[in-house]
């Protein structure tokens, strides 16, 4: 049985001593997806865990030298069964705010045979059916939406794995030219949901699943089970187009910065530093998805006062305040707002790319890729075991080297706003 295995007191836990490990319900072997709820604080695997945090069983295989003859098979059984000598434990801290909670080990689905051990996880914040939510007849008019939990907010709402019914996702982040006004991130999903197990259109079923307004995220689990978020956003539309079976539900989600696309009436500000103004705009817009990433500097550059009351769009005000400080606002992969210097200084990972898979410096051994139809014709697929196919860098099927004036600014004009009342 996978899932919740009940409470576990980790006080006597000793790594490497299976006799101190939590036991699966009913005894027997361990399986991927089993977890226990801690009844005491502990440090497991180097991670400090609190009461109520979850402890997941993990396995990376029995290596030569582990255990004694007959204890278990050498190697790795992907999803179990595992015996005690094969397993370790990984804590998932549910006491963290939602933007910091990783997807649990073994959640989601394998990415595919060409990416062994990697998993994609699409999960959404909603309350499972067992949760206490507002039903018809409860509270007063206008108190809450039906189906909403009356005690939880987005920082504590649980994540639910919805990957299984998904077969395609695209994610768009940032812009194409380095413009300091960055558009909101966006994700589009295609779900096969034949009988509306996930995206229900009727109530009360829709209260216990993802729907418009639900926060959804996409990430991947590495073979080491480390979680890497790729996108966090709020569902903007759920389109169930009645056509022919199977039922295809197309879902669009916008990044959390979309929540700042709202009007701030009669907006004024005193002379202040940019970090103070950006924080104030975030608060005024009701932005709830965690604190802004550390500013490039605190205090930021000083800004002029905005003494004349004016209706402004919070997102536009964020951009103007940031650009005024020679910064810009974009969205981090965990959905939180992030402010970086502008023009973009670089400084992240360095990716070296080549259009050639041969190290020869001249002649016919060189293979230069122009336009190859690799998705439909397997003959041209360069399919490897994870090792780089070129010693020159990562092989790209298409690279755009442009000579144009799209990023040319030889006459730069910048002006500020009149700050006299």
């Amino acid at each position: 049985m996978i899932g919740d295995q009940g409470p576990y007191d980790p006080t006597g836990f000793i790594e490497g001593d299976p006799s101190t490990y939590p036991v699966p319900l009913g005894g027997g072997y361990y399986y991927a997806g089993q977890y226990w709820t801690l009844t005491a604080a502990a440090v497991i695997g180097g991670d400090p865990l609190e009461v109520g945090d979850l402890l997941y069983v993990v396995s990376f295989g029995r290596a030569f030298g582990d255990g004694t003859f007959g204890d278990g098979f050498i190697g790795w059984n992907t999803n179990g069964p595992w015996d005690g000598i094969e397993v370790g434990f990984r804590g998932v801290s549910v006491s963290l705010p939602a933007w910091e909670v990783p997807a649990p080990p073994y959640s989601g689905c394998p990415l595919g045979e060409s990416m062994p051990g990697w998993r994609i996880v699409i999960d959404a914040q909603y309350l499972p059916e067992s949760a206490e939510v507002r039903r018809f007849g409860e509270l007063d008019f206008g108190d809450e939406l039906f189906g909403d939990d009356i005690n939880l907010d987005v920082s504590t709402m649980p994540w639910n794995d919805i990957t299984e019914q998904n077969f395609g996702v695209s994610i768009t982040v940032g812009n194409t030219d380095g413009n300091p006004r960055v558009r909101v991130s966006e994700a589009q999903f295609d779900f096969i949901d034949e009988t509306a197990d996930l995206f229900a259109m009727s109530q009360p079923e829709s209260w216990f699943g993802p729907r418009v307004g639900t926060i959804v995220r996409v990430g991947v689990l590495a073979p080491s089970l480390e979680y890497h978020p790729l996108f966090v956003g709020r569902i903007e539309s759920v389109n169930d187009v009645h056509d022919q079976p199977p039922r295809l539900v197309q879902v669009d989600a916008f990044g959390m910065s979309f929540d700042t696309v709202q009007t701030l009436p009669d907006w004024t500000r005193p002379a202040e530093t940019a970090d103070v103004r950006l924080t104030a705009i975030g608060v005024a817009s009701g932005y709830v998805w965690g604190p802004v990433y550390p500013y490039p500097s605190v205090p930021g550059p000083s800004l002029l006062a905005l003494p004349e009351p004016e209706n402004v769009v919070a997102r536009e005000a964020l951009d103007v305040a940031a650009i005024s400080a020679r910064w810009y606002v974009n969205t981090a992969k965990d959905g939180r707002l992030r402010v970086r210097p502008w023009p973009e200084p670089g400084g992240g990972q360095v990716i070296t790319v080549t259009d050639c898979n041969d190290a020869g410096d001249t002649g016919q051994n060189r293979v230069v890729f122009g336009d190859i139809n690799y998705l439909e014709d397997g003959d041209q697929v360069i399919y490897g075991d994870g090792a780089p196919t070129s010693n020159l860098g990562l092989l790209s099927p298409s690279v755009g080297l442009f000579g144009d004036m799209n990023e040319l600014l030889n006459l730069v004009v910048i002006n500020n706003k009149d700050d006299t009342p």
Binding site: L111, L303, V412
Partner: protein, 123 residues
């Protein structure tokens, strides 16, 4: 009173004409202090006054090269992409900073278009 910072690259203007409209410029109605406007304009001119040849985008595909997987997992705005155009003489290496990307994930394939903005002068 509004104040204005203006910066011109006469050499570039002589060849290409006045180019003042890229990347959301001209920037107006900012809250930048008067004294900070000119240094801001000068810094932008230094970066973009002579940008012509640039790395616009790079396609990544885990079926073409499985080694893309790790960089794609960690891909973020601000990363640096270096590309050498081979097969031309002389070969040309350009560097861009990631300013956006589009992931497409389906079963057994992860492809991404990586968009970059360059800091390399090329006039």
């Amino acid at each position: 009173m509004t104040a204005t910072g203006t910066a011109r690259d006469e050499g570039s203007i002589k060849y290409f004409g006045e180019r003042s409209q890229a990347l959301g410029f001209p920037l107006t109605d900012l809250s930048t202090l008067d004294a900070a406007l000119q240094p801001f304009a000068d810094a932008v001119l230094a970066r973009y006054g002579k940008i012509v040849n640039r790395l616009s985008f790079v396609e990544a595909d885990t079926l073409v090269d499985p080694a893309w997987l790790e960089p794609l997992v960690h891909l973020d705005v601000g990363d640096t992409v270096t590309f050498t155009r081979r097969g031309i003489n002389p070969e040309r290496t350009l560097t861009g900073f990631v300013c956006g990307y589009e992931h497409r994930l389906t079963r057994d394939n992860w492809s991404t278009t990586i968009f970059t903005t360059t800091s390399t002068r090329s006039i």
